[in-house]
Amino acid sequence: MSQRHILALYSDFDKAEAVVKELRSTQIKGFDVNKGLIVKSPIEHPEVEEFLGDKPVHVQWFTLGGALMGGLLGFFLISGAQANFYAQIKGGKPIVPFPPNFVLTYEMFILGGVFISVLGFLICAGLPARRSPLYSSKVSEDQIGILVKSDETATNALKAIFTKHQALEIQEEAGK
C-alpha cells in the first residue's frame, strides 16, 4: 500500500499541541502516531518535546566516548612520542614529564569531546539529510508544521483533524 505525506501548518504551539493530542487519542487505520508524525517548528521549544512524549537523545554518549578517547589518545601519543624521540634530556626534567603532558591531555580531552559530540549530533539528528517531500518555508518563519505519513486510506481522516484545528494551510503529496 502506498504511503502519503501531508503537511499542515499552524500559527501557534497551542493549536499544534491540540492536533498532536487528538492524533494520539484517535485510532486511525493505516497511521501510526509513533512513526509517522513529525513536528517542525521555527524555534527550539521544550513544550514540543513534552507533548510529543519522551524521546531519547544519545548525543551525550558520543561526547563521553569522544572525550575519553581524546584524553587517552592525547596522553599516550604524547608520552609515546617523547619516549620514542631520540630521547634527550631537556632542562634536566624527566623525558616523560607529567605536568606538560597533563596540560596537553586536557586539551585533547576537550577536543575529542567537542568533535565527537558534533559528529554524534549529525548522526543522531540524521544530518545532512535529504529534504523531506513536503516542506514549507513558512516553518522557518513563524509557523508550526505537522508532517504525517500514512497509508492512503487514512488521508481523509487526518485532513479532517487538521482542518478542525484551523490549519492555515494543508499540503498534500501528489498521488503516485
Partner: protein, 460 residues
C-alpha cells in the same frame, strides 16, 4: 525598560536580519575599504621582513620579542569574551545573550585567526612552521611537548576549532532560514549546503539542544585553559616580571575584560551599520557595560595583587622590573595602562554613561588600548631589564615594521568580521524568536496569575 519588544512578529525578525545581508548603510563599505587598506600595510611589512630578516623589526639581544607577542596575547585575549560569555550565559539561561552572541562568537573566531597570524609573523623561519606540528614522520622527530609554546598551539587549535563548531552548530537553523528566504545566487547555494537539510523537525531540535549545551559546557573550561596556557608562556619562564604565579587568573581576567570592551565597540558599530536598533537594544548594552565594569574591577584587583606580591617577595630582579615599569622608559605607557584599565572604567558605573553610545564607543576603544598596553608592558620591560645586569637595554624601540603589522592586524580582523556579518546573519534569528516568545509567555502568565505583582511593583 524591556530588553526587547515583546510584540515583534517572527516574520519581521527574519526580514530585518536578512536585510542586513542585503543592504547595509554606506558606512559598511567605507569600513571594509579602510580595513583592506590597513591589511595592505601589514602585508607590505611582512613581505619586507620575510625577505630581509627579523632584523628589520628592530629587535635585538635582549629584546627578542616585541610587539608581535604582545599583540598575539591581545588578540587571544579578545577572543575570550565571545565564546566564553556566550557559553556561560547560555548555561545560566540569561536570554539577553541571544541577540548579541552570534557576532560575539564571530569575534572570537576571527580574533583567534588574527592571533594565529602573529605566531607566524613572529617566527624567524616561518617557512618551517610545520616543524611545530606533531605530525608523524619517518625519522621519529616530534616537537617538544614540554614547551609552553606547543601547549599554546594545541590550545589555540582546540579553541579555534571548537569555537567554529559552536558558532556553526548554533547557526544551522538560521542558515536554513537563509536558504528558504534568500534570492537565487551563490549565497543561496552556500546556505543550502551549510544548512545540511535542516527543517526544524522535533528530532533535529532535540539533538540540537543537547549538543549545543554539551559544547557550551566544554567551552567554558577550554576558554579558561587557553588563556592560562598563554599565561604559562610567561609564568613558566624564569625571567623576572614573568615568573608570577598569579599570571593565569590575571590573564583570564584581562582577556575577559578586553573581550567585553570589544563587544561594546562592535555592538555599537553593528547596531548602526546594519540597522539593528530593534534587537541590539540599549538595555542589553547596559547589561554588557555593567559586566565590563565588574570584570574591570576584577582585573584591577589582580593587577594590584601582582604588584603587591612582587613588592613583598624580596625577589630583587622582579622588584627592579616593577620599578623600571613605573619610572623607566616605559613609564608613560605603564601609567596609561593603569589609567585606561583601572581608572577609566569607573565612568561605566554611572547610569547615564551606561547607555550613552558616543561616550561608550570612545571608552570601549580606550579600554582596549589599555589592555593592549598591558600586554606590551608584560612583554617588553622584562627584556629591557632582565636578571643579568650586563644585558640591560632600556632604549629599544620597535620599528615601523612591527607597528605596521600591529596596525594591519586590526584591518585583517575588521575585514574578516565585516565580511562574515554580510554573508551570515549576525543576529541569531531563531533565538531572538525564542526570546520574544518566552518573554511574551512570561508576561502573559504574570498577567493571568498575579495581577497584584504587575500592579504593585511592575513586571521586571
Amino acid at each position: 525598560m524591556k530588553d526587547i519588544r515583546e510584540d515583534i512578529a517572527w516574520a519581521k525578525i527574519n526580514q530585518d536580519v536578512l536585510n542586513s545581508l542585503e543592504n547595509p548603510r554606506k558606512l559598511y563599505w567605507v569600513i571594509l575599504f579602510v580595513a583592506l587598506a590597513m591589511l595592505g600595510v601589514a602585508a607590505g611589512c611582512e613581505v619586507y621582513q620575510y625577505n630581509v630578516g627579523m632584523g628589520v623589526a628592530n629587535m635585538d639581544n635582549p629584546h627578542m620579542w616585541g610587539l608581535y607577542i604582545a599583540t598575539f596575547i591581545f588578540w587571544i585575549g579578545m577572543s575570550h569574551s565571545g565564546t566564553l560569555l556566550s557559553a556561560i550565559l547560555h548555561l545560566m539561561h540569561a536570554d539577553w545573550r541571544k541577540p548579541i552572541y552570534r557576532f560575539a562568537e564571530a569575534m572570537t573566531t576571527f580574533s583567534l585567526m588574527t592571533a594565529g597570524l602573529f605566531v607566524a609573523v613572529h617566527l624567524g623561519r616561518v617557512w618551517q612552521i610545520y616543524y611545530a606540528l606533531p605530525y608523524p614522520n619517518e625519522r621519529g622527530v616530534w616537537p617538544n611537548f614540554q614547551s609552553p609554546l606547543l601547549w599554546d598551539a594545541m590550545a589555540i587549535f582546540t579553541y579555534l576549532s571548537s569555537s567554529i563548531l559552536f558558532l556553526y552548530v548554533g547557526m544551522i537553523p538560521d542558515l536554513a532560514i537563509c536558504r528558504d528566504r534568500m534570492h537565487e545566487g551563490w549565497r543561496k547555494k552556500l546556505y543550502t549546503l551549510l544548512s545540511l537539510g535542516w527543517e526544524g523537525t522535533d528530532r533535529q531540535w532535540r539533538n540540537f539542544r543537547v549538543t549545543y549545551l554539551t559544547i557550551a559546557c566544554f567551552l567554558i573550561p577550554l576558554a579558561v585553559s587557553v588563556h592560562s596556557i598563554v599565561a604559562s608562556d610567561f609564568a613558566m619562564s624564569q625571567q623576572p616580571g614573568w615568573h608570577v604565579t598569579s599570571f593565569p587568573p590575571y590573564f583570564v581576567a584581562g582577556a575577559l575584560y578586553s573581550g567585553c570592551a570589544a563587544i561594546i565597540t562592535l555592538f555599537i558599530i553593528l547596531r548602526y551599520v546594519f540597522r539593528f536598533e530593534e534587537y541590539m537594544t540599549l538595555p542589553i548594552l547596559k547589561k554588557i557595560v555593567r559586566l565590563t565594569f565588574a570584570i574591570s574591577m576584577v582585573w584591577t584587583y589582580l593587577n594590584a595583587v601582582e604588584f603587591a606580591s612582587v613588592w613583598y617577595s624580596h625577589d630583587e630582579p622582579s622588584k627592579d622590573v616593577l620599578i623600571q615599569k613605573a619610572t623607566g622608559t616605559y613609564a608613560p605607557f605603564w601609567w596609561a595602562m593603569i589609567f585606561c584599565g583601572s581608572v577609566l572604567p569607573l565612568t561605566l558605573a554611572f547610569k547615564r554613561i551606561q547607555t550613552n553610545i558616543p561616550v561608550l564607543f570612545a571608552v570601549s576603544l580606550l579600554l582596549n588600548m589599555g589592555m593592549w598596553l598591558e600586554r606590551w608592558m608584560i612583554v617588553a620591560p622584562t627584556f629591557s631589564h632582565g636578571i643579568y645586569p650586563w644585558t640591560w637595554d632600556h632604549d629599544q624601540w620597535p620599528s615601523f615594521v612591527q607597528w605596521g603589522m600591529v596596525f594591519g592586524s586590526f584591518g585583517w580582523f575588521t575585514l574578516l568580521f565585516m565580511v562574515f556579518c554580510k554573508v551570515f546573519p549576525s543576529v541569531s534569528m531563531y533565538e531572538v524568536k525564542e526570546m520574544v516568545y518566552h518573554r511574551r509567555q512570561a508576561t502573559k502568565r504574570l498577567e493571568e496569575t498575579g495581577k497584584f505583582a504587575a500592579a504593585g511593583k511592575g513586571a521586571h
